[in-house]
Symmetry: C2
Subunit: 122 residues, 2 copies
Amino acid sequence: MVIMKRLPRSVGCPVELSLELLGGKWKPVILARLKDQSLRYGELRRLIPRLSDKVLTERLSDLQAQGLIVREESGKGVGFYRLTEQGQTLRPVLQSLYDWGEKRATELKVTVRSAHSPPKNS
Amino acid sequence: MVIMKRLPRSVGCPVELSLELLGGKWKPVILARLKDQSLRYGELRRLIPRLSDKVLTERLSDLQAQGLIVREESGKGVGFYRLTEQGQTLRPVLQSLYDWGEKRATELKVTVRSAHSPPKNS
């Protein structure tokens, strides 16, 4: 697996390894979007507008190399990304980050623009 | 609150806000260490050897400013860090990151040196 090259041999705490594997902000944001549905590249791009094409492409590529997501083609040749079985094991992590963020957003008066679905009329 | 200065006004998803607030690898690692016990600076330093003094000091300062941890003095004038009530709300996040990391460590053959307690004989 591609990911192995950067992994430490040992960590002081399992949390350290999780964050090493999830590295940075955007991988969990992408994974959270794929938690409940498969999405096309363009849909992910629209749902995460703060992420550039370059970074989104890189992160999707990393996540595929890590075996957490997979790209599949529908019958019509349209590509979709979805969580693999391994990626599905992240559900409790993604859900807890979602729940905590939702609570904090209310407290800190941060607007959550679009919680789940891609905009239908854009 | 100090933290407010860097927060976005709006986010696309609650997970984005959580990761904005927890920013990077080390804050969750520190918080996870404080999840079950109060710890002195020196104990945290020993438990997270990959973290430099400079970065640990900065992260502890950030976490205090964010209201997630607090520094308290015992009767003998020894300083301890512990989670605040707000910090305690992160327990499900920290636990899920811990559980996932533990499972992945086994699968990826990464050694977890010391899961919970500070070394008693060092």
